[in-house]
């Protein structure tokens, strides 16, 4: 088995106002694993990602993550409105001082991967919500990260767009084989995308279940309507209810 890319070792987070958000989190994610995290609102799912990315400090335990090789996709696309899609996708490469020719090649490839080549010279306000999320994903793809973290990236788009984006992300994972940590409120989304689903309790968030999802990749759209899929989703839902306040 390969070494894990991301390790939480007895992680705990208590905010300055005394609110304990996470307690005793032990979790590791290896290359080729796509781990989805579900849990009630306020259980610390997003805090887990912020700690992993270095945006938030842990107050207990340790975190080990490849900071220079991590992609982060937020719930909001966080595109810079004054930059075209292409300039937005270039941003991280610019911040990392990537050489121009290499940068251009990677930007072209990332835009093609998410299907936005034709929209490269449009501004974010001219795009639909789904297209903005794709641009946000492409921005991280340019760095070719070994670990991707997603903080409810499709929470703000409609159901049809969400399913389509799930299909596309799942195909991308099957093709590129990065490690993924994906926070979501949707059980169906978690089961469809993940190789493991982590279920967290209400605050302070603890891991109450670690459920493997063994459907092979790439996964077809119709997987969602099979009895096997429903069975795993029911198991995740049951664990969620046990961890609820």
């Amino acid at each position: 088995m390969t070494d894990p890319l991301l390790v939480f070792d007895r992680l705990g987070v208590t905010f300055a106002d005394g609110t304990e958000t996470l307690r005793g989190i032990d979790l590791s994610v290896t290359q080729g694993e796509f781990v989805a995290v579900v849990g009630p609102s306020g259980c610390g799912k997003s805090t887990l990602l912020r700690v992993a990315s270095g945006l938030q400090h842990a107050t207990d335990g340790n975190v080990s993550a490849p900071r220079d090789s991590t992609g982060y996709v937020f719930q909001d696309p966080t595109l810079l409105p004054w930059r075209t899609v292409r300039a937005n996708v270039r941003l991280f490469a610019e911040l990392h001082g990537m050489e121009t020719a290499e940068c251009d090649a990677r930007v072209d490839a990332a835009l093609a991967t998410v299907g936005l080549s034709e929209w490269a010279h449009h501004y974010p306000r001219q795009l639909s919500g789904g297209m903005r999320m794709r641009a946000s994903l492409a921005r991280s793809l340019v760095l070719r990260p070994s670990l991707f973290m997603f903080d409810e990236p499709f929470g703000a788009v409609d159901e049809m767009t969400r399913e389509r984006l799930n299909d596309e992300l799942q195909a991308l994972f099957a093709e590129q084989g990065f490690a993924g940590l994906f926070v979501t409120h949707s059980v169906s989304e978690a089961v469809f995308l993940a190789t493991r689903v982590i279920v967290m309790s209400a605050r302070p968030g603890r891991i109450v279940a670690d459920i493997p999802v063994s459907f092979p990749h790439p996964r077809g759209h119709d997987l969602r309507y099979t009895p096997e899929f429903a069975s795993v989703a029911a198991e995740v839902s049951s664990a969620l209810r046990q961890g609820a306040p």
Partner: protein
């Protein structure tokens, strides 16, 4: 993958253009009607020279080129040009100084807190109260008038620029933190572009105020042989030349409006492609 582009379909261009033109025309006609009502009907006949009717103002204030050393359009335009130079010089200084001060204030909270009281004091102090101090400290009426312009117009530039710099989205800040961006990179690639809409709101306010500042400065600081439009207005007031007085006021307002519109145009050129202005901006 496929997608759809967001398109604005809430306004039909043709109909919008009609109301955009008809509205101002109707208000202008009402304004002229009200002016005639006051000057020809409501004012007693012995006071009508104070507010001549519109056609009298046009005939005596705009259609006479020069009569004596003060009357006619030419002396008004010379004064207006003098005030324009003062207003634009002051505005340029205001823009550079105001933006640099806002940048400095955005770097440290204590600098921001220490500076605000002085800005508010400058904004609220009447120029009349500062007149003796300005006269005592600075030589030359042009420099004195430029200083008045800066004092009157600097506040909106600083406050709007600072607001814009500090209002960049938290998620966008997180992006830059995640990728180890230095302070200068964050300023140039995130905070300044993000602040541009606010900066332009401040510039447009300052543009209007700069003309007001120049006219006010003309009243209090007059050099020998150089007469700004404010000083010219004061002369017309003293001599009870109503038509020249109103023509001067109209042209001074037109100058303010022109500078305001130029900055509106500049704003659309610079940020119009990506920024959707709120109504009133």
């Amino acid at each position: 993958m496929s997608g759809t582009v967001n398109r604005r379909t809430d306004r039909r261009p043709g109909s919008a253009r009609m109301t955009d033109i008809a509205g101002p025309v109707v208000v202008f006609v009402m304004f002229i009607g009200l002016w005639y009502l006051v000057s020809e009907v409501l004012l007693p006949s012995h006071k009508r020279f104070l507010l001549p009717a519109p056609h009298t103002v046009v005939r005596e204030g705009f259609l006479v080129w020069r009569q004596g050393d003060r009357r006619g359009l030419q002396p008004i335009l010379v004064s207006l040009w003098d005030s324009s130079k003062v207003a634009l010089t002051g505005l340029c200084i205001t823009i550079v100084f105001g933006i640099l001060l806002a940048l400095l204030m955005s770097t440290r909270r204590w600098i921001e807190k220490a500076t605000w009281p002085y800005l508010v004091a400058v904004q609220s102090a009447p120029v009349l109260a500062l007149t003796p101090l300005i006269r005592a400290l600075i030589d030359g009426s042009t420099t004195q008038r430029v200083l008045v312009v800066v004092l009157i117009s600097v506040f909106p530039v600083v406050s709007n620029t600072l607001f814009g710099l500090l209002s960049a989205d938290r998620g966008q800040h997180d992006l830059f933190t995640l990728h180890g961006a230095k302070r200068l990179t964050r300023l140039l690639k995130l905070q300044l572009p993000s602040a541009l809409p606010s900066i332009f709101v401040g510039l447009r306010s300052a543009a209007g105020l700069s003309v007001i500042g120049a006219v006010v400065g003309d009243f209090y600081f007059r050099g020998a042989g150089v007469v700004g439009i404010g000083a010219q207005i004061d002369v017309y007031r003293q001599r009870l030349w109503g038509s020249e007085l109103i023509a001067s006021i109209i042209l001074a307002s037109a100058l303010g409006l022109t500078v305001f519109l130029v900055f509106g145009w500049l704003s659309r050129k610079v940020i119009g492609r990506w920024h959707e202005p709120e109504r009133g901006q």
